[in-house]
């Protein structure tokens, strides 16, 4: 590095220092104002001049196309409200929208997974909707209970559920048939599931490509299995990780066994499993109907069916998520825009049967019980599992713990790089640290 030509004068330095500090002070603007804010006291039914609402979500797949169709339909019925939708990959959505709120670039409406609601409520970037829900006539009576309650944080409601999508078993009928198995009778319990995989393996087919790597998909099978074996991921308050108990180990060892006995390929990513299923290379795919029903339905030459996850453990349980609507915090709320937003939320809730076409099960009870829903074979087959859906504990920061600590550890084991118990114990220890840190961080925010 070239040396400084001459020692700079002290005065010049002081001057520069002063300038820098002044500029910093200017920049070090006050922290964002995210204190509780009251929504304008309005109901639904907007009939003013045309306006455009911004709606952000992570529906980048086929589900996005269906949502767009719904938006067009809404516009036909409400010509003065245009909903402009931006879909970005979910990880970017969760990273970007809080910053956007702070910077005054927030959209009006968002759609997010129920396990992110608490985190963002604690940050103050979404607003409580108790009164809003009342005003547009939504209450627990309309919804399935678990789903409705998953939008409540610290006794206040922050989101309006749209749907629920328990992980399910997708089966490739052609592969089963070619292997001499009954394509109309997919295995539903441990014995028959393992037997089926064994028959396929004998014919050189890895029947269930178990994702070992994939930020989202790798862990959800484990989540479901350890619940089935009677385990819990965390304790009630979300202070301690419990996934390294005997149930968790049993779940992980069952998964590992599939890989070691060639019933699954090795080093599979979620995308690989999906591609292989579409190309008749494997028989089973565990995954969320929200994306998959649509995705598989678009493959012309594929013969598939779907049922709830097989019962591998002692009790039925499926990891599930739920898309829920939220209202982003604005620097100032405009009553007209709010009215329009409520109009939309109320409308889409009532019309969520159309959303079921994208794959998920609508959250509204009256919709699930409707004859139109019964006509959707895949969706109604999955709806059997509704009583057994399980969510992550809905505490702030929980998804970070799952995705940055537990899932990488599971990945390690399924890639055959680590011992199950050691990996789970290590992850539990790290998770406890992060849970504690999250508690401190978000407690401050919620107080």
């Amino acid at each position: 590095m070239p040396p400084l030509p001459t020692p700079p004068t002290r005065r010049a330095f002081l001057g520069l220092g002063a300038a820098a500090v002044t500029a910093s002070a200017l920049v070090a603007c006050s922290p964002p104002d995210l204190s509780p804010v009251a929504l304008p006291d309005v109901g639904e039914g907007y009939d003013g001049p045309p306006l455009t609402l911004k709606f952000w979500n992570g529906l980048t797949g086929g589900d996005g196309a269906i949502m767009r169709e719904l938006l067009l339909q809404f516009r036909d019925e409400h010509p003065n409200i245009t909903i402009e939708m931006f879909a970005m990959p979910w990880p970017s959505f969760y990273q970007k929208f809080p910053s956007a709120v702070v910077s005054g670039l927030a959209p009006d409406i968002g759609l997010m997974h129920n396990f992110h609601v608490a985190t963002n409520a604690a940050r103050g970037v979404i607003v409580p909707l108790d009164e809003a829900a009342d005003r547009i006539g939504l209450s627990e009576a309309n919804f399935s209970e678990t789903v409705w309650r998953s939008g409540i944080v610290n006794g206040r409601r922050y989101s309006i559920p749209l749907d629920v999508w328990p992980d399910s078993l997708f089966y490739n009928r052609r592969v089963l048939e070619n292997a001499g198995l009954d394509p109309d009778d997919p295995p539903r319990d441990r014995a028959s599931y393992e037997e089926t995989l064994e028959i396929l393996a004998e014919q050189g087919i890895a029947g269930h490509w178990l994702p070992a790597i994939d930020p989202q998909g790798v862990g959800r099978g484990f989540d479901s299995l350890q619940w089935q074996f009677g385990g819990e991921l965390y304790d009630e308050e979300g202070t301690r990780a419990l996934f390294n108990g005997p149930e968790g180990r049993e779940a992980l060892e069952w998964q590992l066994e599939r890989i070691l006995s060639d019933q699954s390929k090795r080093n599979v990513s979620g995308g690989d499993a999906n591609v292989a299923f579409k190309n008749d290379l494997n028989a089973f795919l565990w995954g969320g109907p929200g994306a998959l029903i649509n995705d598989l339905g678009s493959v012309e030459d594929l013969d598939w069916g779907v049922v709830p996850l097989p019962l591998i453990g002692e009790q039925p349980a499926s990891f599930s998520g739920s898309h829920q609507f939220v209202i982003m915090r604005q620097r100032a709320f405009d009553p007209d825009r709010m009215r329009a937003a409520f109009t939309f939320l109320s409308w889409i809730s009532e019309n969520s049967i159309a959303w079921a076409g994208a794959g998920p099960i609508p959250a509204r009870r009256d919709v699930v019980e409707s004859p139109e829903f019964a006509e959707l074979p895949a969706q109604s087959s999955i709806a059997e599992a509704l009583p057994d859906v399980r969510f992550y504990p809905l505490i702030p920061g929980i998804f970070d713990v799952q995705s940055t600590i537990l899932y990488p550890a599971l990945s390690d084991v399924l890639l055959l790089n680590a011992d199950p118990q050691e990996a789970l114990d290590g992850a539990a220890e790290q998770a406890n640290h992060l849970l504690e840190e999250n508690r401190q961080k978000y407690a401050e925010a919620m107080s």
């Binding site: 910093s24 922290p31 995210l34 204190s35 990945s411 890639l415 790089n417």
Partner: protein, 325 residues
């Protein structure tokens, strides 16, 4: 214009400012046009941007790193050196993950820099000959660099897919029976990241070397040839010493570029398996922009930065020592 080799070489020895001082001691050029404010007006546009986006952030970043600076919290309590101390506390999760990411960056630098220094040199020596098609080959090797990291990332993700990818298929044809998990398992992920990076940026360094080779005084080669020196001897005693400044430059920018690695990991492995390939920059970005703990992220950047400056300084010293011998 002809090359003013003098100035350049002096810069390498850190004597450039001296020569500059010599010039300015006699008042620069004897141009007496304009008024006293002219120099400041010339300097102003640069200095404004430099001040606001380089100097202020440097100070402001230190300020942030001394606070528990969460993007969303109204309170940003002063924690002194807390953020730094935490990074050296072996029981803290942050420290464990941070040093894990530093290890990833370190490994990447260690594996990629030798390849990125040596292979382009070999290539430059070949391309320095006169033969038909020289320009074409030069262009081909530089082409991936202009595509940009995003294109490279999505392209190689497809090629290296373990189960349906092209590379594994051809390896299988060549008799490799095992499916190689290029994007999912160590050590393969490192082979992938280093290999793709070499493929992507090799052309840049090769071109810099080429220019260096052409700057070497040809009389030295002639003298060597008259002495009956072998090719090897010629390379060792004429080419390498002649390339020293360029070599220092290439080593320095390659280390910096490799330490800055972000896109390849982000796009190809996403940090997998289990955060093994999550580089320091990636972790800093995640901490600051995804978990919004900006004070902590700022503290991490400073630690990484100090290390890098140390390495650059060490480089200069080593090359200087070499020169004296």
């Amino acid at each position: 214009m002809t090359a003013s080799t003098q100035v350049g070489t002096q810069a390498a020895n850190g004597t450039a400012p001296t020569s500059a001082r010599r010039r300015s001691a006699d008042g620069g050029t004897r141009v007496r046009a304009g008024n006293a404010s002219a120099p400041y007006l010339f300097l102003a546009p640069f200095m404004i941007i430099f001040g606001v986006f380089v100097l202020v952030p440097a100070v402001y970043g230190i300020w942030m790193s001394l606070h528990n600076w969460d993007f969303f919290l109204p309170e940003r309590p002063w924690v002194g050196l807390g953020n730094y101390l935490e990074l050296f506390d072996p029981t803290s999760l942050t420290a464990v993950q941070f040093w894990e990411s530093m290890r990833a960056t370190g490994l990447f630098v260690l594996f990629s820099v030798p390849f990125l220094v040596v292979i382009p040199l070999g290539l430059a020596l070949m391309l320095n000959r006169v033969f038909p098609g020289r320009t074409f080959f030069r262009a081909v090797y530089f082409a991936p660099y202009v595509l940009g990291v995003a294109v490279i990332g999505v392209l190689w993700q497809n090629l290296l897919n373990a189960n349906v990818g092209l590379i594994n298929y051809y390896l299988g044809r060549l008799g490799v029976t095992e499916i190689i998990p290029w994007l999912t398992a160590t050590p393969w992920v490192w082979v992938t990241l280093v290999g793709v990076t070499v493929w992507w940026t090799l052309g840049f360094n090769a071109v810099v070397y080429l220019a260096g080779l052409q700057g070497i005084d040809t009389t030295l080669y002639e003298a060597a040839r008259v002495d009956g020196a072998s090719r090897w001897h010629e390379f060792w005693h004429v080419t390498l010493p002649g390339l020293r400044p360029v070599l220092l430059f290439v080593v320095t920018i390659t280390i910096l570029a490799s330490a800055n690695m972000f896109g390849q990991s982000y796009l190809l492995t996403g940090g997998a398996p289990s955060n093994e390939t999550r580089t320091a920059i990636m972790y800093i970005a995640q901490t600051g922009f995804e978990q919004f703990r900006m004070g902590r992220a700022a503290a991490m950047s400073y630690i990484l930065c100090l290390l890098l400056i140390g390495i650059s300084a060490l480089n200069f010293l080593l090359f200087r020592r070499q020169e004296k011998n």
